[in-house]
Structures are given as structure tokens and as C-alpha cells.
């Protein structure tokens, strides 16, 4: 029983992070109708940014997050403005292929620049934890979970209250009508993609603290982000975090009861089940 509770705690904490990954992907997908297969690669880059800020400049990983997010925002803005914007009106297959190529390219460049070694961001408090009844709560994952929730709530507030956020939602609902009301779609699309990349960057930094980074983590993280975005629905940032929690708990339970090598199989199985059961959900977004 205590073991089960421990699994749930671990799964929930990791799941919050998956939720944050799904958030950026869902935002870009909902507004730009681009399924960004390079999302995982952006997460990976954010992770390395935080890693080098910590090991190179001694910035605490959590303090480095805003810097990494800023850098990733700039990268995302540029990618959308000068690359994805060129193909956005062609068949969806083409945007899939471009982001797929981008994923290959970014993973390759990361391998050149950062080497293929496993990296973990290891601040002094990485191993700390505290007991809560029968379970042990690790401190760093708990903080990561908190940051994920905070960012989700922040995104929600931004989309609902700010003028730019309203322009983003308007563009998602009806591009032509938004244009007639003075929204500049090039700017809004680039901003949205930048925001998605910034969220990916934050998720990457946190992922580097609680897990391991390699230049190749991108693909599996892309698939997870996608499942989570669908589980949570694209209209509700906090719902996406809940979707992440479901995936996190399922994975933690698989690793314990079956075998850690089956985590990928379960992840994939859940992906297919979720896709088959709820594909219509995406189109019901407001």
C-alpha cells in the first residue's frame, strides 16, 4: 500500500512535467494547426540551456529557467517567422515533414555541440526529500511540479486577460475575422510559436533536474507531449497538467509492476488507445 502511494506520488510529480510539455505543444497545435514534431527537440535544447547555465555560470537551475525560456522564445519566434511561416498554408503533411526534419537537424546539432553523453542537472538539493506519512516526497521533483502548475496558471491568465492573449485566441477561432479586427497573423503566429517553445524550454530545464538529458530524448518526449495534449484537451491549460499526471502515474506503475523496459510500450499503447478513443476532442476546443 505504501509502495502504491509512493508510485502515485512519483508519477504525479513527473506527470506535472509531462503536462508542461503537452501545454506548449497543444498551444501551437490549437492556434497554428501545426503538430510540431520538433517539440521534443525544443524541450531538449531548453534542458541543455539550463544545464550549461548551471555548470558553466553557476546559476541555480530554477533561476536559470526564465533565461532559458527567453532564449527558446526567441528561437521559436524566429523559426515560425522565417521557416514554418513559409509552409503553413500547404497540406498538413508538409508542416509535419518540416518539423520532422527540424527534429532530426536539432538533435544532430545538439549531439555535435553537447556530445551524446547523458547529462543530469545536479544542484546540491537534488537528493533532498522529506517524509509525508508513509511516503517520501523528493524535493526537486516537487518544485518542478510546482513550477509546471504555476506556468500553466500563468498561461491561462495570459490567454484570457491580456490583449495579446485575446488576439491569440481570436486567431485560433477564426483567422479571417481576427485579421478584420486588426490582428496581424504573422506576428501572432510567431508569438504563439515562441510561447510554445518557451514552455518547452522550461519543461526541458525541469526535466534535466529530475531525469537525464541526451540529444535524442526529443522523439519520445514529442510523443508524450502529444498524448498529454489530447488527454487534457487543448482548451484548458490546467486540464493538460491533469493529462500529464495520468500518463506519469501509468508509467511509474508500469516500471514497477511489469518491467522498466516496457515503459515505452505502455506509453505507446496509451497513445494509441487515447488517439482511438478521443480524437474528436481536439476539434471541440473553444
Amino acid at each position: 500500500m505504501a509502495l502504491l502511494a509512493q508510485i502515485v506520488v512519483n508519477g504525479v510529480l513527473l506527470g506535472g512535467l509531462y503536462g508542461l510539455m503537452g501545454l506548449g505543444m497543444g498551444l501551437v497545435w490549437g492556434v497554428l494547426n501545426i503538430v510540431n514534431l520538433a517539440h521534443g527537440a525544443l524541450i531538449m535544447l531548453g534542458g541543455y540551456a539550463v544545464y550549461y547555465l548551471y555548470t558553466g555560470a553557476g546559476v541555480d537551475p530554477f533561476a536559470a529557467l526564465p533565461l532559458a525560456m527567453l532564449a527558446m522564445f526567441a528561437l521559436g519566434y524566429a523559426l515560425q517567422r522565417w521557416l514554418l511561416g513559409l509552409v503553413i498554408r500547404s497540406a498538413q503533411l508538409n508542416t509535419l515533414l518540416v518539423t520532422f526534419g527540424l527534429d532530426v537537424l536539432l538533435s544532430y546539432l545538439a549531439q555535435l555541440a553537447f556530445s551524446a553523453d547523458l547529462r543530469t542537472i545536479n544542484p546540491p538539493y537534488a537528493g533532498s526529500n522529506f517524509a509525508l506519512g508513509p511516503v517520501t516526497v523528493p524535493l526537486a521533483p516537487l518544485a518542478a511540479f510546482g513550477v509546471a502548475l504555476l506556468l500553466a496558471a500563468g498561461l491561462q491568465a495570459f490567454l484570457v486577460r491580456s490583449r495579446t492573449g485575446r488576439a491569440i485566441r481570436a486567431t485560433a477561432q477564426n483567422l479571417t475575422a481576427a485579421r478584420l479586427h486588426g490582428v496581424n497573423p504573422k506576428r501572432v503566429y510567431a508569438l504563439t510559436f515562441g510561447l510554445g517553445a518557451a514552455l518547452a524550454g522550461a519543461a526541458g530545464g525541469l526535466y534535466g533536474v529530475v531525469s537525464q538529458l541526451t540529444p535524442y530524448v526529443g522523439v519520445t518526449l514529442t510523443a508524450r507531449s502529444f498524448v498529454v495534449a489530447i488527454l487534457g484537451g487543448l482548451d484548458n491549460p490546467l486540464g493538460v497538467i491533469a493529462g500529464g499526471v495520468v500518463l506519469g502515474v501509468a508509467e511509474a506503475a508500469t516500471a514497477l509492476y511489469l518491467d522498466p523496459t516496457y515503459v515505452n510500450v505502455i506509453s505507446f499503447g496509451m497513445l494509441v488507445v487515447v488517439l482511438v478513443l478521443r480524437p474528436s476532442r481536439i476539434f471541440e476546443r473553444a
Binding site: V87, L102, V104, L106, P279
Partner: protein, 312 residues
């Protein structure tokens, strides 16, 4: 005239092992097998418009089918190819029915995790040698492997040519262009899509089987190598998805260029593929064959026209 040129090209390719050196034959086998994979992908990705990023799973099943038949059951090579193809076809049918109900990005993402999941399953199977892998009987017949690969590519291309001119192929293109409309017009979309995936699966599996016997050693990581997905998709897209010869031309061109690059700097090939697909989709979305026609017609403005057509 066209047929004559094609026959001459095939005859020329067939004579390579008797004229070229060992390195060229080795490169040739790899290029022919990759061209087969790109051509097989073309059936589901190019004609049907379902971007599968998981076709290497069929290749992997082909390698394992062949390896299990030869190393564990001591059957001949042909039986191994048969077992591999049967496993791949079964996988295409079983997986195809649920995941081909998914459209566009849903399908693409569902296939993304396929090779990782299958590698995990095979690394836990006793008969597949767990994560150590299997060793096949040694057979040194580079020429035979080369000619087999060539024959397979010709067979795959002939199948694609048949698809392109048949009622079945017209149904697939209809699905690509507008699936609802195709359904209304009486195309049994699920059956067509599953059949397209099964065709791709069988040819990919045979390519895997030939490669396994040639290399004589397989393990989960090499059999379900996800970089194969990258290569086959990019070669097909670069050459011209949904055309009969495009994927073959694309595969030969990119194999040669990446081989040249690799001889200069061994690590550059992987990044090269990513760059190629990004540039290809932006500047020449209809592939190398259309590029030739477009350049003759419009000159360099061809690229600008492609960009202008799809940008925001």
C-alpha cells in the same frame, strides 16, 4: 522509349557487381535496400497521404523473421524471408485497423513510437535472443545479395507502377486528396488504407530480411533503427512523393551525397538528412522530378513560386 531507357538502366545496375569493386557493391546494396524502403513508404505516405514515421518496424520484423527462421529453426533463407514478410503483414493488419482510423497528425504521431515499442518487445523475447540478438549462418555472396536487392527494388517499383495506374491507386489518391469525398464516392477507405500499409510492410520486411542475412548479425537496436524512418521518408519526399520513380531517384541521389559527405566527415550525414527535408519541403514540395520540369519552365523563379504559394 521510356521503357527501353528503364530496362537499360536496370541492366546497367545489374552489371555493377561484375565491374565495380567491393566498396561499390556494398554501397549499392545499401542504396538499393534504402530505395526499396522509400518506394514502399511511397505507397502509404506518397499515394495515400498518411505520413508513417514507423515503417522501420516492418523492416525490423523482416530482419527478425529471417533471423529466427534461419538461426533458431534452421530453415532456408527463402522461408526466412517468407516468415518475415508474414510477420510484417500481420503487424500491418493488426495495427493498421486501429491506427489507420486516425487521420493526419494523429496517425503520424501514433507511428512515431512504433519502433521503440517493438524494440522493447523483441528485447524481452527468448526466441529472438533477448537484447543480445541473433547470429545468422555466414554466407559470403555479395553479388547475390546485390542482385536480390535489385530484384526487390524492381518488384517494388513495378508494384508502385501498378498502383499508380490502377483503380486501387486512384482510390488511395482520392483518400489523400479528400477522405470524406472518397468515402462518399464508395471507396472502402479502411480496407484501402490497410491494404496500402500491408503492401508497404511486405516489401520493407523483405528488404530487412536480405539485410539481416547479408550482415549476419541482428539485435533490437539495429533491427528497429529509427534513423531508417528518417532516411526512407526523406528520400521519398525529396524524390517526389506519389510518383513512380521519384523515391528511387531520391534514394540514389541522397545515398550518394551522404556517402560523399560521410567520407569527408563521418558525423555530418545525420544532420544532412534533416536539412534536406526542411529545404525540400519549403522550396520543392513536389520533389526532384517536378524540380526538373519546373526549372525548365520557370528557371529560378520556380523556388520563389513554391514559397509564395504556401506562406502566410
Amino acid at each position: 522509349m521510356r521503357r527501353l531507357a528503364l530496362a537499360a538502366a536496370v541492366a546497367l545496375l545489374a552489371s555493377v557487381p561484375w565491374m565495380g569493386n567491393e566498396t561499390l557493391v556494398e554501397f549499392g546494396i545499401n542504396a538499393l535496400l534504402l530505395a526499396t524502403l522509400a518506394q514502399a513508404w511511397n505507397v502509404i505516405g506518397g499515394f495515400t497521404g498518411y505520413a508513417s514515421f514507423g515503417n522501420s518496424v516492418f523492416y525490423g520484423l523482416g530482419t527478425y523473421g529471417t533471423a529466427i527462421a534461419m538461426a533458431q529453426l534452421h530453415l532456408p533463407f527463402a522461408a526466412g524471408l517468407g516468415l518475415g514478410a508474414a510477420m510484417a503483414a500481420a503487424c500491418a493488419l493488426v495495427l493498421g485497423v486501429p491506427i489507420l482510423r486516425l487521420r493526419g497528425p494523429y496517425f503520424a504521431i501514433a507511428t512515431l513510437g512504433l519502433s521503440a515499442a517493438m524494440a522493447a518487445i523483441f528485447s524481452n523475447l527468448e526466441i529472438a535472443g533477448k537484447n543480445i540478438g541473433l547470429i545468422l549462418p555466414l554466407f559470403r555472396g555479395e553479388r547475390l545479395f546485390y542482385e536480390l536487392s535489385l530484384a526487390l527494388l524492381v518488384a517494388t517499383t513495378a508494384t508502385v507502377a501498378w498502383v499508380a495506374s490502377s483503380r486501387f491507386g486512384a482510390g488511395l489518391v482520392a483518400i489523400r486528396e479528400n477522405e470524406e469525398a472518397a468515402q462518399v464516392m464508395g471507396v472502402d477507405t479502411t480496407r484501402y488504407k490497410v491494404a496500402a500499409l500491408a503492401i508497404a510492410a511486405v516489401f520493407s520486411a523483405v528488404a530487412g530480411g536480405i539485410h539481416a542475412y547479408w550482415i549476419t548479425f541482428i539485435d533490437p537496436a539495429s533491427a528497429f533503427d529509427s534513423t531508417l524512418n528518417v532516411k526512407m521518408v526523406i528520400m521519398a519526399v525529396f524524390g517526389g512523393p506519389g510518383t513512380v520513380l521519384g523515391p528511387v531517384v531520391g534514394a540514389f541521389t541522397l545515398s550518394a551525397v551522404s556517402e560523399l559527405l560521410a567520407s569527408r566527415l563521418s558525423t555530418v550525414a545525420a544532420g544532412f538528412y534533416g536539412l534536406v527535408v526542411v529545404l525540400a519541403v519549403v522550396f520543392m514540395p513536389r520533389g526532384l522530378l517536378d524540380l526538373g520540369r519546373g526549372l525548365r519552365r520557370d528557371g529560378w523563379r520556380y523556388f520563389a513560386q513554391n514559397v509564395r504559394r504556401y506562406r502566410l
